[in-house]
Assembly symmetry: C2
Homo-oligomer: 442 residues x 2
């Protein structure tokens, strides 16, 4: 099939397990610490907000974890997702590189986020939990969890960063259409929210504040648990369904990637596509794994590798991770999903030990790549995912300069249907760059 | 495979031809008439605004028309589209019926419209045309043609009904993101537009007015042609790729539909899924073909079968069709794509001779079905497509009442990502019904 563009799998080929890299790591990960005692966290510490099945996955040493049948039953509403060879983009770049992209935008919520939302809702329902509380920034995660909860008949409460609540009405409406309740954060529903409102009644909110509110909500209601859309090991685990499918699809294409790319906010979509390839790399494969973040929030390329809180109110465990500090407030770039001060401890660990690379891009360069993609491959990408596109383009141009083939695989983690005003601002010349111009850690 | 949910085809299984039903019709269709002479239209009459290849397709007697390689090359950016069995909806309805839906929302524009936009752009480019002019209501068609033009490196001008231009900013932004120019209609760019503005400077516009503007633009610029997103034979022809894929996918499912359903505005998405099955019906198959329209614009169920203009300014040929009159202005329902006074002459002919059925639904019933679908199958559907969902639900409930299996296939022609404000209004109890409560022509 020399000219195949779209590599599809039947639902029989849907992976029946998630790939857990924890038992294969060469170096031990630093444990999360209790925020009060500073001692390594125990399962009992997490029990007030997570079901035991997810706590076990957080530290499991089983290399493969079965996907429950009811989760598979929902996955196949959109999975396996298609893998495309970006032949039209390759032609536009006049490159010898082969560019492949995995398209997660076909999920009902339009991104990769439901892969873990569905799993988390399932395990919570099994544990007798009636309601899930969570935070959301731009709304990708909140909409994914609202979808998962409605499919399992559970209630869902979303604390949405106030500035996004007002600026991104369509994602907010998607969340309410699936039956979830939603509050602009900081809200008057929690002590954390009220404390912020008292100090600054006009606070635009932040992901850190919204996390504090959702965690508090879960911790203070016995029938309610907390659900996190990124960062944690079990979230990265659930996303490995992406990379596992890619491996089957790249086999159909008769190729193997030289470099695997994902954009990076908290780390879940990068982990999803990269971790199954990490297992090869740990066994000697030369594949490069490349995480892309915005210069406006350069956690991996400029942060410190240290213990830090996941939230503003210091309610979460201390996680050993690359961090810009838990009070860091990034500029208002349009890739809202990449505006987080920290990074998944697992991905931080891999970067620290040289298993993965990180690179940061400026906002305008990212939108330029997004436009080129939209005009060649058709799909209007999410600003977050466009960071991966920019890197794929750069890798393809590097291959051209070398005059050698390079096989590039990236995760197109979502579409941009709810980001059209960002494109309007870009086309009107109203977007600006943030952060450093040089010194990229590559 | 007793429990398969998603039926996928490889791109090798993408149909290589469109199915043309014209040579198989049992009764002759009435020809289109010249608006001035009232004589049957000749190919030369259409040449100022259409390329000869499309004019030939408009009246072709070949049963199969090859899809050009360059069109296939673009189709496979999203085609073949998936066919799903709606098992979760079936369970919610507790019905013995099997419900299948073809999901066209996976295209970059989010609907079935690119199937013909790509073909039309291709044939126009082959004919040396540099620019296409068109109208759009809610924006589905305008975004599809903007996508097709950017993929072929052509210019595109879209006249968007003014009220939608302001109320649907996201679709407008999608059109501009793909590089098309867009004017709110009535505009000061054409004589037709200026005439309306002179009479009523605050005119909200209508599809009929926007068509007049686009046709005039094309007729007065030698390098520019006109492109229509529905109604005409060649548009219905290009959409048959939908039904042809369905037949392959239903064979994978080991079933054959008892009833095939599509929502109906101008007729192209209904024609796309139904016409390949019409060929079976013309050969004795008992399959029912069911077109669904809103009671607010009941062209098929309440219109007259007569010659009428396609536009307000009486620039188009006279078409023999079900029509509410070319000056009919439907109420502002949220299914903007179904607000057209006329119906495809081909579908009108089939209805008149009893080959297809038509049914009309109230807006609130349609949104109720849409919500049920979103909460069981996940996808938030376009309000237009939700008319087909409502009919599928009713067919499934009828099967339940009979206590007999019924195999139902409907076209989910697009997602509702750009219609979230409609859902907001529905959930807030702000939507109303329009039109008749009884006397549905079934």
């Amino acid at each position: 099939m020399p000219d195949t563009t779209k590599f599809v799998l039947t639902e029989k080929q849907l992976p029946s397990y998630w790939a857990n890299v924890l038992p294969s790591l060469k170096e031990p990960m630093a444990p999360p610490l209790h925020p009060g005692t500073k001692q390594p966290l125990t399962p009992a510490d997490l029990a007030p907000i997570f079901p035991m099945a997810l706590i076990e996955q957080e530290m499991s040493m089983q290399p493969q974890i079965d996907v429950p049948g009811e989760v598979l039953d929902i996955y196949r509403l959109w999975r396996p997702t298609p893998l495309f060879r970006a032949r039209r983009l390759e032609r536009a770049l006049d490159t010898p590189a082969h560019i492949y992209y995995k398209y997660e935008g076909v999920s009902p919520a339009g991104s990769h986020k439901p892969n873990t939302a569905v799993a988390q809702a399932y395990y919570n329902k099994q544990a007798g939990i009636k309601r899930l509380a969570t935070e959301t920034g731009a709304g990708q995660w909140g909409s994914a969890l609202a979808l998962a909860c409605t499919l399992f008949g559970m209630d869902c409460t979303v604390y949405m960063v106030k500035v996004s609540y007002h600026q991104k009405p369509y994602r907010r409406l998607m969340i309410t259409s699936w039956g979830a309740e939603i509050f602009p954060s900081p809200s008057d529903k929690t002590n954390s929210g009220r404390a912020i409102l008292e100090q600054s009644p006009d606070s635009p909110g932040s992901l850190g504040i919204a996390i504090s509110e959702a965690v508090e909500d879960a911790a203070t209601h016995p029938d309610t648990n907390y659900s996190l859309g990124s960062v944690l090991n079990h979230v990265c685990l659930h996303q490995t369904v992406i990379g596992l499918e890619c491996k089957e699809q790249m086999a159909l294409a008769g190729e193997s990637p030289d470099v695997v790319i994902g954009c990076f906010g908290g780390g879940s979509n990068f982990a999803g596509i990269a971790l199954p390839y990490l297992l090869d790399k740990l066994n000697g494969s030369p594949v490069r794994l490349l995480a892309i973040e915005p210069t406006a929030c350069p956690t991996l390329t400029r942060g410190n590798f240290d213990y830090d809180f996941g939230d503003t109110a210091e309610l979460t465990p201390l996680l050993k991770m690359y961090t810009l500090g838990h009070r860091f407030v990034p500029p208002k770039i349009h890739a809202g999903g990449l505006r987080y001060h920290g990074a998944a401890p697992l991905c931080s660990h891999l970067l620290h030990h040289g298993w993965i690379e990180a690179r940061a891009y400026q906002q305008l360069d990212v939108f330029e790549a997004a436009m080129q993609f939209a005009k060649t491959e058709g799909v209007i990408p999410a600003p977050e995912s466009s960071h991966a596109i920019k890197a794929a383009v750069d890798e393809a141009l590097a291959a051209k300069q070398e005059g050698r083939k390079r096989t590039i695989l990236f995760n197109l983690s979502g579409h941009g249907h709810f980001d059209m005003s960002s494109y309007e601002n870009y086309l009107a010349g109203k977007l600006e760059n943030f952060g450093f111009e040089s010194e990229l850690k590559q």
